[in-house]
Symmetry: C2
Subunit: 408 residues, 2 copies
């Protein structure tokens, strides 16, 4: 067992990257439920698309050879034998001197090998006059032009987006084999937390926030969430909940119980487990220094700080893309921009800070300003536009310096 006390941001990121993808099982879902799921296997088309020859235009299906002499001043006369709307099966094969009207998308009759656009025709009773020569194949979409039967149309591990959904539907696929969702167990801890919004608060109590925002944030990565409740700071209660959560989930995310105070049991409970592989006790970051990470064989536990602002920013910086890697969702690219600092920013030495900042327009120039409230304030999360990273060894960023802002 590797037991690491506190480590640097970069070490933690490297550690997370080195963890192999959790192997998820498969399940069958109906196509209607398949949007944003991730394919477990290559999908092969059961049909040719189109599965019949069809017209690309409104016009007349003809035997191309019949039209070869046609010119604007030399109209060719063909006998109209059928009108084929889209969706109908042609009833008559075509022979020399004949034509059939075909709507866009309609099936081409037997023997026809080209379509003359309506624009190059004139109707004269039962006769159609053609003013343009066409070569064989003109305006005909051949069988399998778009997708061939038994061809692999979508590869495994692709997330089913709108275009994929369209391709699958056009091949008549009803059900697909997708990865089961990654299961994340969520736990909130703290004697001060009250779950029931709207109940009046006693002195010392606060409304619980983390389960509400983290469960949504986790679902956004394509995982499913099971909430194991708000727990008191009680060793046995916590141990029991973690056991249950580990049993159910691939990954457990706890919040609260990570600082050094007397009531913080999370790390103590985790130390009890014998089958840990790696245990990181804290990452030297601000806000939320004590992010605990433990790996049990193939299962992983994160403990995030209790303050919602800290919990959510730790989630965004470390866990969001870690979950996406495991669910198969595309990784989130952080949008960032180099801007000038509009006011001196302080940061503690010895911790890598993700400093929440606001962008304000000063005389037409966007500049970076620190958010005045700290990580204890929920409004910090609300008013911050993004964050700047401040190295462990930096304590001051001067006004006028250029810094990269990472937007939320």
């Amino acid at each position: 067992m590797k037991f690491l006390q506190t480590i640097k941001v970069e070490e933690f990121k490297t550690l997370l990257d080195s963890i192999p993808k959790i192997e998820l099982k498969e399940e069958i879902v109906a196509l209607e439920e398949a949007y944003n799921r991730v394919l477990f296997e290559d999908v092969v088309s059961p049909i040719d698309v189109p599965h019949f020859r069809k017209s690309r235009m409104d016009g007349y299906a003809v035997i191309a050879e019949d039209t070869f002499p046609a010119e604007e001043d030399n109209l060719i006369e063909l006998k109209l034998i059928e009108t084929i709307p889209a969706g109908e099966k042609p009833q008559k094969a075509l022979f020399k001197g004949q034509c059939s009207y075909v709507a866009t998308g309609a099936a081409i009759p037997k023997n026809a090998d080209g379509v003359v656009m309506v624009e190059f025709s004139e109707k004269a009773g039962e006769k159609i006059l053609i003013s343009k020569a066409i070569t064989p194949g003109t305006h005909i979409i051949e069988v399998g032009h778009d997708i061939k039967k038994n061809e692999i149309i979508v590869k495994r591990n692709r997330m089913i987006d709108l275009a994929t959904l369209g391709v699958l539907a056009s091949c008549g696929i009803r059900k697909v084999l997708v990865y089961k969702k990654l299961k994340v167990g969520l736990i909130s801890t703290g004697n001060e937390l009250v779950s029931d919004n709207g109940r009046e608060l006693d002195i010392g109590k606060i409304y619980e926030v983390n389960s509400k925002i983290l469960s949504q944030a986790i679902e956004n990565t394509g995982a499913s969430v099971e909430f194991f409740g708000i727990l008191k700071d009680d060793f046995n209660e916590l141990k029991c909940a973690i056991d249950k959560a580990l049993d159910y989930s691939d990954i457990v995310i706890m919040s609260g119980g990570t600082s050094k105070g007397e009531g913080d049991l999370g790390p103590k409970v985790l130390e009890e487990y014998k089958d840990k592989e790696v245990m990181v006790h804290g990452v030297r970051i601000k806000p939320g220094k004590p992010i605990i990470f433990t790996k049990f064989g193939s299962k992983i536990i994160f403990i995030l700080p209790g303050y919602p602002t800290s919990a959510l920013s730790c989630f965004y910086v470390f866990i969001d893309n870690f979950l996406r890697k495991n669910t198969g969702y595309p990784l989130k690219e952080t949008y960032s921009k180099q801007l000038e600092v509009g006011e001196r920013i302080y940061s503690p030495i010895g911790r890598h800070e993700f400093k929440p900042v606001q962008i304000k327009n000063v005389n037409g120039v966007n500049k970076i300003f620190p958010v005045k409230t700290g990580s204890e304030a929920i409004s910090t999360m609300f008013y911050a536009d993004g964050y700047v990273e401040i190295d462990e060894l930096e304590s001051i960023i001067e006004e006028g310096e250029k810094r990269r802002v990472y937007f939320f």
Copy 2:
């Protein structure tokens, strides 16, 4: 009534921009259901946050004056009278010469006006030795520091994102008043369409795709979708379905039935209605030239082309942000990039083309290539990375020219 035959892209965009926002009614939803809904009214906090004075640190709550003489070589002795964990109500008020242990987030006892961090203390039986002077207010979070009671915390028209959800939850808000969802009625038309994936296809028939991809695309804008079925090209059937859809919905989106073929009834049915305000018969674009648009008093109908690739690209270019404007969702910003064209691209004169393109890496440089299949092919949508816009009067873009690619 303004009746416009075919108009340019820019005219159509201007027309859409000029339509006032549809007025949506309000409804109450529980906070758990409120994620990604849009607030109908300003939200005011029913409580101060925090609603009690609390400690920012693990340490000792003191009367600051008691510590004034304290220095590293002049320890001040205080009597520990209580230990206050987070979540507990202090039982004892503090008097001169006394202190209480407070965990991070714990309530500050009466009379205390500062907290000395554990780091500057030593325990000696019942006594606590303090080695640092503090000023009043040190490490105390005052009542309402984060959010003040009766303060507006979130303004109307804001979409409830994770940070907003956190702020609302921390104020103990249980229910919020949000806009009802914009109602979109969806109709697919075409005799050739078969709804039941997996059923074997007759010659002439194809699987219906548009309802599956458009309903998802519409839901992504925050609207709700009601599907009014796949309709045959029958005047009365279509008229009846449009009546029903108009009755139910704020906006009706139909696909199919827009080209000039004999089976295309959509525009004919719309012309029957007497209460149209504006009617656009076609926008000169490719793919999907005949995008029909009609406004009935406060209701709007769009008819998109039948090919899924054309329908979806028309949706993205014109309708997506139009719906978002009405649902209150943030508008989608198209990510675009200037790149070199890697192969000559052709485009018809007289239509503004949204040409699907692929980006390929040629000797380390990303270049633009046209997608070979046309809008009739579902795979076009699948393989395209984005599109370039080609003006009505342009017919060729030469290899080597620089063009802006808009990514999907």
